[in-house]
């Protein structure tokens, strides 16, 4: 299996046309296209529909059957909008902010194994890379917030930086529990270690009696890292108007949105890779009915990881449309006094479990 791993992506990377690394470009374009498509379809439209249904509303209905083309109409509208840079804004930071944000959320896709045969870059420190690269978003947010020269934006940016930097600690420690169970930081290997004939029973979440704790901690922390409710204080629309992107219009605004939905999928994919077996099928082999064998493979793998990712995005949306927003100090309380200690506890317990495992 080791050989077949990354087979497609390796082949693509080696594809040159007229001496140009066209394969690499395609490799990079696949996640990009994926983010764009998913944000268009599931991200924006899905969120609007899900929120509408939870609130007894119909949601978008006018453009296309059941409003399915609504997002395309929105994108067209955004494209036509005047691209305003406020007169007193720091033009360089203002323009570069959304770019950094997008690159930050996009880079992590490089190390996400989308199927047994496809991974952008099979790094041996993939998990570490994924955790670290999220921090780049902070720079983008700060640039956007500061560059706007708007007090609300500045508040949003400062809040966001404080929040993301703090929540990286419990998030990283929780992920380390998974890494410890796998014994590697390579995302592809972590996923492989969770495959087996019994499907979901091989997932790390069910491999150890305390894995639910880091799983939960990472999920909560990831909500904060991608600024989703109830931790959406950087863009709290009732307090800070729109937070760090108050001044953005047109395509820049769209790019920030894309980045947000991109990182939503990213953290969902990471949690499903580390704890829920990534591209492994959750279905077990039952006797001669080899469900697990039938539903595994490169294409099935892509299906499973995207499904798992979408499920977690659904939970994120579900939470968002249920809960009020925390206050800044409560957010920090939750991070430093609840999640971090419990993350350490689960870290130690996982270590003990790994050493004395029966």
């Amino acid at each position: 299996m080791g050989n077949s791993l990354n087979a497609w992506s390796d082949a693509l990377a080696g594809f040159y046309l007229f001496g140009l690394p066209l394969g690499l470009v395609i490799l990079a374009a696949i996640p990009l296209v994926f983010i764009a498509l998913y944000s268009l379809t599931y991200g924006v439209y899905g969120e609007r529909k899900i929120s509408a249904f939870m609130q007894d509303r119909l949601g978008p209905m006018e453009v296309g059957k059941w409003g399915i083309l609504q997002t395309i109409a929105d994108i067209l509208k955004l494209l036509q909008k005047e691209d305003i840079v406020p007169a007193s804004a720091d033009k360089f930071l203002f323009v570069v902010g959304p770019g950094i944000l997008f690159v930050g959320s996009f880079l992590a896709f490089a190390v996400l194994p989308f199927s047994p045969a496809f991974i952008g870059a099979s790094l041996n420190v993939g998990l570490f890379f994924a955790i670290g690269i999220v921090a780049i978003e902070v720079v983008g947010i700060l640039a956007a917030g500061w560059g706007s020269n708007n007090k609300w934006s500045l508040y949003g940016a400062v809040r966001s930086v404080a929040q993301i930097v703090s929540y990286e600690i419990p998030a990283a420690i929780a992920l380390l529990c998974g890494a410890m169970m796998a014994g590697t930081l390579d995302m592809q290997k972590i996923t492989m270690l969770q495959s087996g004939a019994y499907g979901f029973a091989h997932f790390f979440l069910f491999q150890s009696p305390i894995a639910w704790l880091p799983f939960l901690i990472y999920f909560i922390a990831s909500l904060a890292e991608v600024n989703r409710a109830p931790f959406d204080i950087p863009e709290a629309e009732s307090e800070l108007v729109a937070g760090y992107f108050t001044e953005y219009t047109g395509m820049k605004f769209a790019v920030i949105f894309l980045a947000e939905y991109g990182s939503m999928f990213m953290v969902s994919a990471i949690i499903s890779i580390v704890f829920l077996g990534g591209w492994n099928s959750p279905l077990p082999n039952i006797g001669s009915v080899a469900l697990n064998d039938w539903t595994n493979g490169p294409v099935w793998g892509a299906f499973w990881i995207i499904t798992k990712g979408f499920f977690f995005i659904f939970v994120q949306m579900w939470l968002r449309w249920t809960l009020p927003r925390l206050r800044v100090d409560q957010l920090m309380y939750l991070c430093w006094k609840v999640l971090t200690p419990f993350a350490f506890i689960s870290f130690v317990l996982t270590a003990i479990w790994e050493v004395y495992r029966p």
Binding site: S51, M54, Q55, D56, R57, K151, Y155, A229, P230, D232, I233, A236, E237, S238, E239, L240, V241, W321, T322, L323, P324, R325, L326, R327, V328, D329, Q330
Partner: protein
């Protein structure tokens, strides 16, 4: 060790060793920032402007600026006849038009000293309490939005829509009713109205429970409002607070009980005040809880009114309305319990004209809001939003 203030450059803590000054710690030079919140801001509930002086996220001072929605109510009143003031009162507190009309009507009736048919009184109370529920639904829903919970808002508006439908059916309009006239009602209620209202009461009870489970009991919501913006009872009275705001501070004061008007003395309902178990008395959560409990009491009142309602036989809703309203010379201050507190009307008549000489609306929101400066001192920006939400202002009533 001592602290030196270096002329706005931030404080420096120093210590002296023999002759030399050793700097121990140096704060960054910080400035306070003026933050203009509103008049276009999502959580100022309209066109209120708060000019905040902020130190980081902490507000050192917040000064409200009003008048963006000033529509010269009092000047208008001096230029129209007594009955024609009623549509203007709708526009004071546009979320509770029936209550505003009710307050105006009883004030002028006090000046005229006329008897009102009993059925009129019952219908007035029913529509006013329905509107109170509608108004509290908006208050609770928007409070959820202020704190970031969107879904309860939509649930509130779903049910408010039904109340507005009921009131439209009775009065002909959805928000600006002109239904309660001086001396009577514009029309009797439609035939099936009371039955439908009763059905609504039954429909609404479980919905209110669901709402409280979704929002009021939510731990994040409680944490956001518990102990925030505490107003002691005596200060609240001195500020002239009334209604749910005053009751939130633990004063059991309800004009329907303490200065009874209409048929309220005959009805059995509680005046809810916080007991200090769920919340700190006088905080945002208390005020929110009082509103939630009041909806329940209003439902009870409506049920009783429907049961006791005199029959409509031979009833003319306009029978007691004077042909031409020209009160004798005199002054009156009449008031009623509105969803947001005491709405009072001071009316002066010169005895000759059919127009009031002076008609002043004492609006509850205006008075409640005046405590904003005190309440917001030293709070965080998110708490400021929570406090504004808990005051539940309607700018139409603040600016008049």
């Amino acid at each position: 060790m001592q602290e030196l203030d270096t002329a706005g450059l931030g404080s420096v803590r120093v210590t002296r060793k023999s002759d030399t000054v050793v700097i121990l710690e140096k704060d960054l030079a910080t400035e306070q920032m003026v933050l203009a919140m509103g008049p276009q801001h999502p959580s100022t509930h309209g066109v209120l402007k708060l000019e905040c002086l902020t130190d980081g996220e902490v507000i050192t001072q917040a000064e409200p600026y009003l008048g963006y929605l000033h529509r010269c109510f009092e000047k208008c009143c001096e230029n129209v006849d007594y009955p024609a003031v009623v549509p203007y009162t709708d526009r004071l507190d546009y979320l509770a038009g029936m209550n505003s009309e009710f307050a105006y009507a009883i004030t002028v009736e006090k000046l005229l000293d006329i008897e009102i048919p009993r059925r009129v009184e019952f219908i007035r109370v029913i529509v006013a309490e329905l509107n109170r529920i509608a108004s509290h639904l908006v208050a609770i829903g928007t409070y959820g939005i202020d704190l970031g919970a969107f879904t309860p808002f939509l649930f509130c508006f779903r049910d408010r829509e039904i109340i507005l439908g009921l009131l439209e059916w009775a009065s002909g309009a959805r928000m600006l009713y002109n239904y309660i006239w001086v001396g009577g009602l514009a029309y009797d209620v439609p035939a099936d109205f009371l039955k439908r209202v009763k059905e609504f009461v039954n429909y609404f009870r479980p919905k209110a429970l669901e709402l409280s489970e979704l929002l009021t009991e939510n731990e994040i919501f409680v944490k956001r409002t518990h102990g925030i913006g505490i107003m002691p009872a005596d200060v609240a009275i001195n500020y002239g607070w009334s209604g749910p705001m005053l009751r939130g501070s633990g004063v059991k004061w309800d004009l329907r009980r303490n200065d009874p008007y209409s048929i309220y003395p005959e009805l059995d309902f509680k005046v809810p005040v916080p007991d200090g178990k769920h919340s700190v008395i006088g905080d945002c959560l208390s005020r929110h809880l009082v509103r939630a409990w009041e909806m329940d009491e209003s439902l009870k009142i409506i049920e009783q009114c429907i049961d006791k309602m005199p029959s409509s036989e031979g009833f003319n809703s306009r029978s007691a309305i004077p042909k031409r309203i020209r009160p004798k010379a005199g002054e009156v201050y009449g008031r009623a319990e509105n969803p947001r507190g005491e709405l009072g009307f001071y009316i002066e008549s010169d005895g000759k004209s059919t127009k009031p000489l002076r008609c002043k609306a004492r609006s509850s929101c205006f008075v409640n809001l005046s405590a904003m400066k005190d309440l917001s001192k030293g709070q965080l920006i998110p708490d400021l939003v929570a406090i504004i939400g808990s005051i539940d202002i309607v700018l139409g009533e603040v600016d008049r």
